[in-house]
C-alpha cells in the first residue's frame, strides 16, 4: 500500500478553500484504504462503505482543524476509527436493549455476527474461523491486526496513525495474536 507514507504531505491550504478538485483527489487517493480499514474494523461491506464515506464528509467539513503542515491520513484515520468504533458501540447497545439480562451470551454471538466471511477473497473453513475470531477481538487489538495483516503497514506507519510509539504497537500485536490463538484453540477444542 504505502499511500500514506512518510513523504506524503497534502497541501491542506488549498483544501481549506474548499477546492472540490483537490478534495476529490484526496478522496480518490485514500478511498480504498479508508474502505478496507473500515471493513476490517466493522466486518461487513455495507457498513464499511457507509462509514468510510461519512468519514470523508466529516473530514471535508472539519478540514480547517488540520494544521497546514499536518498529514492528512493520520488525522483522517482518527475520524474513521472513531466513527467505526462508535458504530459498533451503538450496535451493541441496540442488541443489549432488545435482549434481557439472561441473554448476554447471545449478545456476544450477535456482536461478531456482523463479521461476514463473505468479504474474504478466498474462503475456506480456516479463514472463516479466523475472520470471525478477529471480529471478537477488542477494538484496539482488532485495529492493529487489520493494519498489519490486511493493509501491510509497518510498525512505524501504524504508530504514526495511532499516535503511539512502536513499542505499544508491538505489545498490542502480541496480545491480539495471543487472544486470536486462544480463541481458535478453544473453538477447536469445543468442536
Amino acid at each position: 500500500m504505502g499511500s500514506f507514507s512518510n513523504n506524503e504531505t497534502i497541501t491542506i491550504r488549498g483544501c481549506s478553500s474548499s477546492s472540490k478538485e483537490l478534495f476529490e483527489a484526496i478522496v480518490k487517493r485514500h478511498m480504498k484504504d479508508a474502505y478496507f480499514i473500515a471493513l476490517g474494523l466493522v466486518g461487513n461491506h455495507e457498513d464499511a462503505l457507509e462509514l468510510s464515506q461519512e468519514a470523508f464528509f466529516r473530514a471535508y467539513r472539519n478540514i480547517k482543524q488540520l494544521s497546514s503542515e499536518g498529514k492528512f491520513f493520520p488525522w483522517f484515520y482518527q475520524i474513521l476509527r472513531n466513527l467505526c468504533f462508535s458504530h459498533l458501540r451503538k450496535m451493541k447497545i441496540r442488541h443489549a436493549g432488545s435482549l434481557d439480562e439472561f441473554e448476554e451470551e447471545k449478545i456476544q454471538i450477535e456482536s461478531h455476527d456482523t463479521f461476514d466471511p463473505g468479504v474474504l477473497a478466498e474462503r475456506n473453513e480456516d479463514t472463516d474461523r479466523v475472520w470471525k475470531a478477529i471480529g471478537k477481538l477488542d477494538d484496539k487489538h482488532r485495529e492493529v491486526i487489520i493494519l498489519r495483516h490486511f493493509r501491510n503497514l509497518s510498525y512505524e506507519e501504524i504508530s504514526k496513525i495511532l499516535f503511539c510509539n512502536p513499542g505499544t504497537v508491538t505489545s498490542r500485536l502480541y496480545y491480539a495474536r495471543k487472544r486470536l490463538k486462544e480463541m481458535l484453540e478453544s473453538e477447536k477444542g469445543g468442536r
Binding site: K28, L49, Q53, W75, Q78, L120
Partner: protein, 148 residues
C-alpha cells in the same frame, strides 16, 4: 533479559521488523528457551493463516460512485443548514407577526397581553443565559482543540 522482554522482540522477529543484532540475540534466546520457541511456532502458524487472507475487492462501480456519494453528503449537509436557517427565520417572523396582532387587537384582554409579554421576556432571558454560558465554557475549554 527475561522471557517477557523477548516476547516484545518476538512480534518484531515474526514481522521482519527487527535489526540484525536483535535478531541474533533473539535466536540465541530461542535456542535456550523451549517455551518461547514453542510460542513462536504457534504464532508463525497463525501468521501463515492470516497472511493467506485477503479482502474482496468491491466492483468497479463502487469506486466510480464513491466520490459522488461523498459529495452528495456535502451537498445534503449544506441543504440542511440552509433549510434550518430559513425555517428558524420564518418561525421568528411568524411569531412576531402573531404577537403584534394579539397586542394591537382591542378584543384581547390586558391580562393575556401581559402574560404574553412576560412569556417573551422569560424566553429571551433564558436564551441569553444559555448562550452566555455556552460561550463562557467554550472560551474556557482548554481541550477544545484536542483531537477527539
Amino acid at each position: 533479559m527475561t522471557c517477557q522482554n523477548y516476547k516484545d522482540l518476538m512480534m518484531a522477529y515474526l514481522d521482519n521488523e527487527i535489526g540484525d543484532e536483535q535478531r541474533r540475540a533473539f535466536r540465541e534466546h530461542l535456542a535456550s528457551c523451549p517455551r518461547c520457541a514453542a510460542e513462536l511456532k504457534e504464532f508463525e502458524k497463525l501468521k501463515r493463516l492470516t497472511d493467506g487472507m485477503t479482502l474482496l475487492e468491491p466492483e468497479d462501480r463502487i469506486w466510480e460512485q464513491y466520490c459522488g456519494n461523498v459529495y452528495n453528503r456535502v451537498e445534503r449537509g449544506l441543504a440542511w443548514i440552509v433549510f434550518s436557517v430559513a425555517a428558524i427565520l420564518l418561525i421568528i417572523y411568524g411569531g412576531f407577526k402573531l404577537i403584534e396582532k394579539i397586542i394591537t387587537d382591542q378584543a384581547v384582554g390586558v391580562l393575556l397581553k401581559v402574560a404574553l409579554l412576560a412569556l417573551i421576556i422569560g424566553l429571551a432571558i433564558l436564551f441569553v443565559s444559555v448562550l452566555r454560558e455556552r460561550l463562557y465554557f467554550w472560551k474556557k475549554d482548554r481541550y477544545r482543540d484536542v483531537r477527539r
